[in-house]
């Protein structure tokens, strides 16, 4: 019976081409819009995640602090047994390890100065970082100068400095002494402040000597994983090994004040709660934690997309219902004839439902194909020349990643709504009396 139903419904869909194309087209449009929104936001989230991890130098970030007898806290990891063991145990999942120091010094050029976050990095091991920086002045080709500094453009503008010039850095050592260093600006980079990072980069060894750390000391150990999906698992594993409590999630800190929330989410020490401790106190943060606010924003966008999608679907549904009512009237005689020849009511209904299903499925498929084409074409355009967009892009290109789950969900929604829209006209058609077939008027 399903064969007869399919045959008749498929031909019925085909017989009113214009009408079918309009309905399927409306469905296709809805499918296209929702998939494009999902794909674009999905791609953007992925790219932000990758770019973040490159800029921050990893997927999992471990920092440590020591409590000195005089009551000062020093952020420093001298090689630590526990950390090394944990690294070894998770060796398989770790693609690369970078070590960084950081400081918040004043940068001085002539009579101007500015406070600036500075990362001390090992440039030889930071290809990913160097690759992710968008250079607006100078060059990153040669990073061998021990005293080089890479400056965000906005800071350079504030200082009035250009690539090739020398600036001073004034900072406090871990023991509280003033110290000054000299740096050559080799490159200016696009500011990433908007996304939470606006950092200058210098050599770790030189920064360490300036802040009074050992040459091989570091403040943060960052891990690139072989599989980014493992970030949470690895974070957990390191927390367990290093005795760090599991952090709270964004949703769990809604009611806390900012300081409390940051403490709960990222394990920051609250100024009011400092108690002395022994050895190194670790803090383990994953890229996923950092991405949480971004994902929350993107999810809000996706929700809006879904709302638009559903509104479009409801409008289309009304169209389908009306069309099928019309179809029922048009085909009264035909339905009567089929009933006279022994077609059961349920089969009449199913022919209608199958038509709706075919229209919906065709529309959904067309929408997906349109999405695929749009993604392919837009993905080929290079936006290299628009620095502000780089953080959302993958090497200057827009990427689309609509998940299989989302596509399945949206398709199911379309099919369900198509069936629902046709259900009542289909039931009415099934109730038509075969007497109608006998009536002589055409």
């Amino acid at each position: 019976m399903i064969g007869v139903i399919l045959k008749i419904s498929a031909r019925n869909v085909w017989r009113q081409k214009k009408r079918s194309f309009l309905l399927a087209g409306a469905i296709a449009f809805g499918m296209f819009v929702i998939t494009a929104i999902n794909g674009l936001t999905g791609g953007v989230v992925d790219n932000i995640r990758v770019n973040f991890s490159h800029a921050l130098g990893g997927h999992v970030f471990i920092s440590g602090s020591e409590y000195l007898d005089r009551g000062t806290i020093v952020y420093r990891i001298a090689d630590d047994e526990k950390l090394l063991t944990a690294l070894q145990q998770n060796g398989e999942s770790i693609a690369a390890v970078t070590r960084r120091s950081q400081a918040m010094p004043s940068l001085i050029f002539g009579s101007r100065q500015a406070m600036q976050l500075v990362y001390g990095v090992d440039f030889q091991q930071e290809d990913k970082l160097l690759g992710s920086l968008v250079v607006t002045g100078g060059s990153l080709k040669d990073v061998t100068n021990e005293q080089l500094i890479i400056l965000p453009r906005s800071v350079a503008e504030r200082l009035g400095v250009e690539a090739g010039e020398t600036i001073l850095m004034r900072l406090d050592t871990v023991t509280g002494q003033r110290n000054v260093g000299e740096f050559v600006v080799v490159a200016l980079i696009e500011d990433q402040e908007r996304y939470g990072i606006s950092a200058a980069y210098v050599n770790r060894g030189y920064l360490n000597t300036l802040v009074g750390l050992g040459l091989e000391d570091y403040q943060a150990l960052n891990l690139f994983l072989t599989d980014m999906e493992q970030a949470d698992a690895l974070g957990q594993s390191f927390r367990a090994a290093l005795g760090v409590p599991e952090p709270k999630r964004l949703a769990e800190v809604q009611d806390m004040d900012d300081e409390e929330a940051m403490a709960a989410m990222f394990g920051f020490t609250r100024a009011s709660e400092v108690e002395p401790w022994e050895g190194i106190k670790y803090q383990v943060t994953t890229i996923n934690q950092i991405m949480e606010p971004v994902e929350a924003a993107v999810n809000a966008l996706k929700t809006i997309g879904l709302a638009i999608f559903i509104i479009l679907l409801v409008i289309t549904m009304v169209g389908i219902t009306n069309t099928f009512r019309m179809i029922m009237i048009e085909r009264t005689k035909e339905i009567g004839t089929m009933r006279a020849f022994g077609m059961q009511r349920g089969v009449v209904r199913n022919v209608f439902l199958m038509e709706a299903l075919l229209l919906s499925a065709g529309g959904a498929l067309a929408g997906l194909i349109a999405y695929g084409l749009a993604a392919f074409i837009l993905g080929r355009i290079s936006w290299d020349t628009v620095p502000a967009m780089q953080f959302f892009l993958d090497q200057g290109r827009i990427t689309f990643t609509a998940s299989f789950r989302e596509i399945t969900f949206n398709t199911s929604l379309i099919l369900a709504m198509g069936l629902l829209a046709a259900y009542f006209p289909a039931k009415a058609a099934a109730k038509l009396s075969p007497v109608k077939a006998m009536s002589s008027n055409l």
């Binding site: 017989r15 005689k333 035909e334 009511r345 075969p434 008027n441």
Partner: protein, 239 residues
């Protein structure tokens, strides 16, 4: 034995407040294999009676028996199955399914039931019918590519495809010119003789009763005359 039996059948249509007494106590029997006609002017109740026999409408009172079984009290599902198994229909305005071609239109009633017949046999049977109604050159045509006479030939083949005991035809010639109409009746008559299927058709044209075995003349919802006659079985006259 009577394959169709109507006993004191009444049919009243209600249109708002007015009632139309379309069939007023009609009784008759039709024997298996008959080529019977119901004749009467417009509004005399021909279609109503055929609908009652065809199990697509129910009488207000009286009994309709098909093959000895009363149809009253049957569910829609049972009536539909009964129609599928024992009845074939030919309509005044052909009523072919527009999306199906000639072959598919004829095949269509077979698809509505469970068939245990092998595919090859089905194909041979349909080809035989197509041959009989003279449409072997139009197998793949859609209804809108056929003339009225050709469409009605398709309808005849379709009505016969399930090998029904009874074929009902409500004014099968009314939409055709008289020459084509004549040939359609002759075709029906031929199939009646060939397959021994009971045919009942209605018409308001008294000039064609010569072909039939059994004439029921209606006026105003009652039988005014019923005649059994030795029909003109001269098959040579049909070409």
């Amino acid at each position: 034995m009577a394959i169709i039996e109507l006993a004191d059948v009444h049919k009243i249509y209600t249109l708002g407040k007015t009632e139309v007494h379309a069939v007023k106590g009609v009784s008759f029997e039709i024997a298996s294999g008959e080529f019977a006609s119901i004749i009467g002017p417009s509004g005399s109740g021909k279609s109503t009676i055929l609908n009652l026999i065809g199990c697509i409408d129910q009488p207000n009172s009286g009994v309709v028996r098909i093959n000895g079984t009363a149809t009253s009290g049957m569910s829609d599902r049972q009536l539909t199955t009964l129609r599928h198994q024992t009845l074939g229909f030919i309509f005044q305005s052909f009523n072919l399914i527009p999306v199906l071609n000639v072959y598919e239109n004829i095949e269509f009633p077979l698809l509505l039931g469970k068939t245990s017949v092998p595919k090859g046999e089905v194909r041979d049977w349909i080809s035989y019918l197509i041959e009989q109604v003279g449409l072997h050159d139009h197998i793949h045509h859609r209804p809108n590519e056929l003339s009225g006479g050709q469409r009605q030939r398709v309808a005849i083949a379709r009505a016969l495809v399930t090998r029904p005991a009874i074929v009902l035809a409500d004014e099968p010639t009314a939409n055709l010119d008289s020459k084509t109409g004549q040939s359609i009746l002759e075709l029906m008559k031929k199939m009646n003789a060939e397959l021994n299927t009971t045919f009942i058709f209605s018409t308001h044209d008294s000039s064609i009763v010569g072909l039939t075995d059994h004439v029921i003349r209606l006026l105003d919802g009652t039988i005014v005359e019923e005649v059994y006659q030795k029909a003109d079985r001269d098959t040579e006259a049909m070409s």
